[in-house]
């Protein structure tokens, strides 16, 4: 009885994900497509929860559903408003074909993965991580893998984020801010923002021994900035002048600095000294959180904010 119940739930979640994806692609207006995409993110987060992966569920809920949804809605606002409500054409058949091919590929890959899981030959990665966990400086295996065993990958991810940010900054000045909001939004934002910030700090701190970490915390912090801007306040909490540039680079920069500094003892790149590992990981995560939050807010703004060229003694455009 118990096995059947959860299997039914899993099949429901899988069916909902596929249905949402198809509906979002064939939606006859972008606004509705975006809402379907956001709900898709919600169902995916639940699927991750069912797969016993709370870290990924947190990241999906925060980034994949929340911040990405807000980003898409903001991009939609920029489109020139059309006088008549002309129904949107479907995506071109080429786009649909490629999309369905990719979905087919993903399903094949999933089958291959499940098939591989059935053969228990050789050492399993999970067991290897658990064996080395005590030396990694943290108690959460996901954080250990991200920030220690595979730290190089995370460093490159932050570099990719920085590259994307540079692309967005090259687009020109930021989008215009929404007008000042009425009392409902203002008061909602007034308590939502501190709650988002505190939860971000909590996720950053707890990431050492429980699901959490820099990416989730950074996304929540970015959501705080986004929500402040949506309430009509043009100031998103970003610093100005040279500080905002330093903040954007800080994630990648501190990571690289720590990695290079670890080499001074004769070790390899990013091979932290064993008793400092926990502290170094926390240091990297703090700056990664700030950098991710700043990058996501700048991407949401869609260009260079007004404070980009002002403030600071060494400000340059």
């Amino acid at each position: 009885m118990t096995f059947d119940a959860l299997l039914l739930l899993d099949m429901l979640l899988a069916a909902m994900m596929l249905m949402l994806a198809v509906a979002a692609l064939h939606s006859h207006s972008l606004r509705q497509g975006i809402i379907l995409f956001i709900v898709f993110g919600l169902v995916t987060a639940l699927a991750w929860a069912r797969l016993r992966a709370p870290d990924v569920a947190l990241a999906e809920a925060a980034i994949g559903s929340g911040v990405a949804g807000a980003l898409l809605l903001a991009a939609l606002r920029d489109r020139k408003p059309r006088k008549q409500k002309t129904p949107m054409a479907r995506p071109a058949w080429q786009v649909l074909t490629v999309t369905y091919l990719v979905i087919g590929l993903a399903l094949t890959a999933s089958w291959a993965f499940l098939d591989a899981q059935a053969n228990h030959a050789g050492p399993r990665l999970g067991a290897m991580v658990q064996a080395e966990l005590a030396n990694s400086g943290v108690a959460n295996p996901v954080t250990a893998v991200l920030l220690n065993f595979r730290a190089y990958d995370t460093l490159l991810e932050l570099a990719v984020l920085l590259a994307a940010l540079l692309g967005v900054l090259a687009l020109g000045p930021e989008r215009t801010a929404p007008r000042a909001a009425g009392p409902v939004v203002t008061h909602l934002v007034a308590w939502l923002t501190p709650l988002l910030i505190v939860t971000a700090g909590y996720l950053l701190w707890v990431g050492a021994h429980a699901p959490g970490g820099a990416f989730q915390a950074g996304a929540l912090l970015a959501a705080a900035g986004i929500v402040v801007r949506l309430s009509g306040n043009p100031h998103t909490g970003l610093p100005s002048g040279v500080w905002i540039r330093m903040l954007a680079v800080a994630g990648c920069g501190v990571f690289m600095f720590v990695g290079l500094a670890s080499m001074s003892g004769g070790a390899n790149l990013l091979q932290y000294p064993a008793d400092w590992a926990g502290t170094l990981i926390l240091l990297i995560e703090i700056f990664a959180t700030l950098a991710i939050a700043a990058s996501l807010v700048l991407v949401y703004l869609g260009g260079r904010p007004e404070s980009w060229s002002s403030g600071g003694k060494n400000a340059r455009a």
Partner: protein, 87 residues
């Protein structure tokens, strides 16, 4: 208790699926947004049930993040472009 949690999870899952079908049938964007809000609350409840059923306290954090971002998304949806009306 464990059995009840599992049955409850499936019930909420079915509820989620039904709400989703109802949402897909609605033509208007506002209807879809309010359905999305219902789905969000539904998802939060399901996440909490799963946290207890699978004995993973971290899923409570996931439910909190879901609830927070649901609020953010509703604000993002209802704020119109500058040439729109106030609020």
């Amino acid at each position: 208790m464990g059995e009840l949690l599992l049955i409850a999870s499936v019930t909420l899952g079915l509820n989620l699926a039904l709400s989703l079908l109802a949402m897909l049938r609605q033509p208007a964007a506002s209807d879809r947004m309010l359905s999305a809000q219902l789905l969000g609350t539904n998802g939060v409840g399901l996440m909490l049930l799963l946290s207890l059923a699978q004995d993973q306290a971290a899923l409570v954090d996931a439910a909190l993040v879901l609830a927070l971002l649901a609020a953010v998304v509703v604000i993002a949806f209802t704020r119109r472009a500058p040439e729109g009306s106030h609020d």
